[in-house]
């Protein structure tokens, strides 16, 4: 046990001290935070500039009303969009050419062409140097829509005020039924499930690869037999897997602390500086989800890392390992591909069966727990199956590892590897 502890300590310190780990652990959440906050900050802080937009109103009915309604303001109170009317006196194409020149010269940011038959159902064209500012496009589109629809209603003898009352969009709220009652859920479950499952997926792959590379390094640097003169291959494998598991848990702990600080302070911090952003809220996650998250990380990690260790022991280089490791990595990718299906029908028979299959269960069962807490017996079932499979694979992988570590040269074929298991 003392020897295993020495190996655990070595693995842990060697990884935790690397720049990759420090950057990944500390900068990871910082970068994630930046992704969330920077766009909010930028949009909140920027004042913006006035934009001039040309209007060619061939119908001669829309412009005035449009100008009245386009009353979006900048932070300093000025109008955001200043409309310029261009009378269509002669040829439309000629006028368009002139305006195109103005757009390219930067005099106006864009222009729209309202056709003569707009009330009867014509199409408005909007031309600009770029049309990727969705906010602007949708604002213009919305105002234009209101103005034109009102005109149409009036022409038909209807009162626009009255009609809009009837056309009021139906309010639609999504709720989640839980044992504690009914809670409002505006897509938070989806996002949280998605993020948690992706973190689990990425960390399982990352730490699996770390084990793989560690074993290959021990083998290719020829240090492995030196170490085996002091302990058994199984002890080395156990120490390695436990040491790296400790690294993973350390990383989660740091992220969890970071996440807690973020959730508890982010709203108040943001709103104290920028009152406009006070609506921003990170959805709260039940504690049991985190417990299962850690449980499935540990179980999934043991399952995959023993196999990655076995693969590492049979090869001589990372290149060779990639070929052998692909099927194993696929076992992690498949549940990600099935994710959307399971999320949509978490309690269908197929979802239940898939989430019980050991290689898929860490990701799919966790997903089901996030979306719709399944009966405890199903969770327990997946855990028991996972543990039994892992125990069997540790035995199997240990046999391969023990022989593979001392084999150099040609990469063994699968039948050869199977034969190793029978060696004394």
């Amino acid at each position: 046990m003392n020897k295993i502890l020495a190996v655990i300590k070595r693995e842990y310190l060697q990884i935790v001290r690397t720049k990759t780990f420090i950057l990944g652990t500390v900068l990871g959440p910082v970068i994630m935070g930046l992704f969330i906050f920077v766009p909010i900050l930028v949009s909140v802080m920027s004042v913006g500039d006035q934009e001039r937009i040309g209007v060619i109103d061939a119908s001669r009915e829309i412009y005035k009303e449009l100008e009245n309604r386009m009353d979006f303001k900048l932070k300093d109170g000025r109008l955001k969009y200043v409309l310029e009317n261009y009378e269509l006196v002669a040829d439309l194409e000629q006028l368009k050419d002139t305006l195109n020149q103005k757009v390219l010269a930067g005099d106006i940011s864009g222009y729209m062409v309202i056709p003569e038959n707009i009330i009867e159902g014509g199409t408005v064209e909007f031309a600009a140097e770029h049309v990727s500012d969705f906010d602007k496009i949708s604002s213009i589109n919305k105002v234009l829509n209101t103005v034109i629809v009102e005109k149409r209603l009036k022409k038909a003898g209807l009162d626009p005020g009255e009609v809009s009352k009837y056309m009021e969009e139906v309010k639609f709220v999504t709720q989640k039924v839980t044992k504690k009652g009914v809670e409002e859920d505006t897509g938070g479950t989806f996002i949280v499930s998605y993020i948690l499952v992706l973190i689990l997926y990425m960390t399982l792959i990352f730490y699996g690869q770390l084990i793989l590379r560690g074993v290959i390094e021990e083998k290719s640097s020829r240090v492995v037999e030196v170490v085996l003169s002091s302990l058994k291959p199984s002890q080395l494998m156990a120490g390695k897997i436990l040491g790296i598991a400790a690294v993973g848990l350390t990383q989660y702990l740091i992220w969890a602390v970071f996440g807690m600080v973020l959730t508890s302070y982010s709203s108040s911090l943001l709103s104290s500086f920028f009152p406009q952003a006070s609506g921003f809220k990170i959805p709260s996650i039940p504690a049991y989800v985190f417990v299962y998250f850690v449980v499935f990380f540990i179980l999934g990690y043991f399952l995959f890392s023993t196999l990655y260790a076995a693969i590492g022991s049979t090869v001589n280089s990372e290149k060779e390992a990639q070929q052998l490791g692909t099927p194993l990595t696929m076992m992690l990718v498949i549940p990600i591909l099935l994710m959307m299906f399971v999320m949509r029908s978490p309690d269908s028979t197929l979802s239940i069966v898939l989430s019980l299959i050991p290689f898929f269960s860490p990701i799919l069962m966790l997903l089901r727990i996030c979306v719709l807490l399944p009966p405890f017996i199903e969770i327990l079932g997946s855990i028991v199956l996972l543990v039994l499979t892992t125990v069997g694979l540790i035995w199997f992988a240990g046999k391969i590892y023990r022989v593979g570590l001392l084999m150099y040269g040609k990469r063994p074929s699968l039948p050869e590897i199977i034969k190793w298991v029978r060696y004394k």
């Binding site: 190996v7 060697q14 640097s221 240090v223 030196v226 003169s229 002091s230 001392l406 004394k424």
Partner: protein, 300 residues
């Protein structure tokens, strides 16, 4: 008492025998040579002694006990395939390897510093192993083998890749350890090293032992019918002597084994007038000659 007692061990991979019915004993406090051509089964034998692989049959006793995991801390082992963790600092690496042998704390620290000092590596203690030259890495590997004060040292091809300076250093330390009572067993395919250092040998060829025992006795039993000849002239004429058994001809230097009970004096008379004799020496056979005699010339 014997430090290592190997009894009738075999290891088979499929139908291929890596080691077959091998037995030998290493007397305590001696230097024992495992000799054999490449692929003879030396490394497999050593790995079985170290419990790194398990023999299919037979038994191994080490330091008077049945070999087990607990014994490993009393043994220092330098494998043939040896290396260091490239990213670890030399000092930490040695502390880790010593810790695995149950040797830790202040005493371990002192031991490591002492050895680093002796090998002139003190200023490399905080450097990563990958920054060291090959020669320095070999010294660190050797320190890792002996730092925990083992009673038995097993070295698999310890001299391979060493330059003459480090070869001498290693040989000196081996003798020093022998004098302090440590048993040393080492494998090599280089005769002259065995001849100079070993008390006892076991010659392995094709998985089996072909010759074993005390080196001096082996040589004596081989008889004094070995002739060292330095000559000038036509070597072919020397071969005409009917009682020549084997010749290893270098052009001007020849190692000649005469047939049993042949008279060297007659041979000298035969040579006179055929070639110019610069040196004629009757001596015990070299290990090289015994090796070739036993294993066949194809192997060397």
């Amino acid at each position: 008492m014997e430090a290592i007692d190997v009894e009738n061990i075999s290891k088979q991979y499929g139908s291929f025998y890596a080691v077959k019915n091998l037995s030998f004993g290493v007397p305590e406090g001696s230097v024992y040579g495992l000799l054999g051509p490449n692929g003879a089964g030396k490394t497999t034998t050593i790995r079985m002694i170290m419990n790194v692989i398990i023999p299919d049959q037979g038994s191994i006793r080490v330091l008077g006990e049945k070999m087990s995991e607990d014994m490993k801390s009393r043994i220092g082992y330098l494998p043939e395939e040896r290396g260091l963790y490239p990213k670890m600092k030399v000092g930490e690496l040695l502390a880790f390897l010593a810790h695995l042998k149950g040797f830790r704390g202040q005493e371990a620290k002192k031991g490591i510093d002492g050895w680093l000092d002796r090998f002139d590596l003190s200023k490399w203690k905080e450097k990563k192993a990958e920054e060291l030259s090959r020669g320095m890495q070999q010294k660190v590997q050797f320190i890792a083998t002996v730092v925990h004060k083992p009673e038995l040292i097993i070295l698999d091809e310890p001299f391979s890749g060493l330059d003459p300076v480090n070869t001498k250093l290693l040989k000196d330390i081996m003798l020093e350890m022998k004098e302090s009572g440590v048993t040393i067993i080492f494998s090599t395919h280089r005769m002259e090293q065995i001849e100079m250092i070993c008390d006892n040998i076991c010659l392995i060829n094709k998985a089996q032992s072909v010759l074993k025992g005390n080196l001096a006795e082996i040589k004596k039993n081989y008889g004094k019918n070995m002739i060292i000849l330095e000559y000038d002239g036509d070597g072919r004429r020397i071969r005409e002597f009917p009682e020549v058994d084997k010749i290893d001809d270098y052009g001007k230097y020849m190692e000649i084994k005469l047939k049993d009970r042949a008279d060297p004096q007659k041979f000298l008379t035969f040579l006179a007038g055929k070639v110019r004799v610069d040196r004629f020496e009757i001596k015990e056979p070299t290990l090289n000659a015994i090796f070739i005699d036993k294993v066949g010339e194809k192997n060397e």
